[in-house]
Symmetry: D2
Subunit: 134 residues, 4 copies
């Protein structure tokens, strides 16, 4: 199962080298994963990260970004997200970034499942797993 | 040789989970490395990344961020930077982030040396190497 | 003539109050204006702000943001842009932000036309004026 | 009573025009005001915006940014904050930005006092008023 999220690069995200400043790629990947989750969960599922009323939540434990080439203003970036690994309390998502089909970057995110309103690890909920596995 | 850079977490950098949003840690590390460079280079050295008149430049090829715990508004973060590896056209810098001496995160950045005004790799300049090796 | 630009709020743009951090609204308005320009200019027009080869450029002189209510993660914001004023070397653009038709914020931006590659004011180019007036 | 807050411009905050991207000036002013508040409040005062346990909170209602000149990487910006107006449920703060004593920008922020954990306006607390009036 793969989820494609599309982002247009904003002018203000590009630095003096004329390419997207490195930190924004993590924001792109985070946005892609958040949209995936919103679209995969059944209507009525109670989930907004950081909301104490959410039924689950998770935090990033590790992020690995590798660039093949920079992206810049005018580029439309496709991020193809997929599950790389399911663990007991953690899981990995890969987001591969392309522009017009050409490789630009890849982000591997390791998430830890936490109890909502806390930063305490807990087992990955079954419904989250099934929602993202399809 | 180690360079310590200090950053106060800004309110607007914290998200709804009450901790610094993940992308900002790359901005912190980038800022630490930029400051290290400015402080290590001899006065009069011509270097501003993205400035065509610079005598050298570099781009990030890979970034690995690992979190031990989140940071939040009110935290004063120390980033201790050091060279992890010198290659021919690339080098790695580690930035270890602590708050009051307690581990919070670590960023490993792989940089590629490029000809100023281009994104073309070139040999790491000797004076950059000696400036950061001390 | 009005240009509508749509932005989905990103999770990382929301702060601990649960709403979009104030600075990001300027980024939204900037993005809306940049997209308007790209869509309004004839194909082949040479324009990327900050690119020395551009045939015109402009900088923000003044920005006034007024909020009716906050926006948050999950909101899809429509920004309706229109020209408020044409001057000799400057012009004003209004970007009105709504979510599902309800008022959220308004940004009034005063731009100064500058010679590309400089920060020197110059007369607003006729083709820019006609492109945005329709 | 005036509060001076100092910010070093970060490389990643500068865009392709070689100056700080406009949205970041609001982030600078927000940071200056937040630091002023933290320094002015008596030790033990319970205040973190967005924290439900805070004894007061406030939101930005209007922001006016006027630029005299751009700032760039390498600049150290001083923001001099002062109260411009006290109302019943709102107040204005001015943050004047200079670099080496030269004017760069000014931000006028209109804040509305709200009950913590809500976005409901309330009377400006007396202790906040006295803390910022000195």
């Amino acid at each position: 199962m793969t989820y494609r999220h599309r982002i247009r690069v904003r002018y203000g995200e590009c630095d003096m080298q004329g390419v997207v400043f490195n930190a924004h790629y993590l924001a792109y990947a985070d946005d892609a994963v958040a949209e995936w989750l919103q679209s995969a969960l059944p209507a009525g599922a109670l989930y907004v990260s950081g909301n104490g009323a959410a039924t689950f939540d998770f935090m990033v434990k590790k992020a690995v970004v590798t660039w093949a080439a920079g992206s810049t203003f005018g580029d439309v970036v496709d991020l193809d997200c997929s599950i790389e690994r399911w663990g007991n309390t953690s899981f990995d998502i890969a987001a591969v970034g392309t522009v017009g089909g050409a490789d630009r970057f890849e982000v591997i995110l390791t998430y830890v499942s936490v109890r909502p309103g806390t930063h305490t690890p807990c087992r990955v909920p079954d419904d989250l797993r099934s929602a993202l596995t399809g």
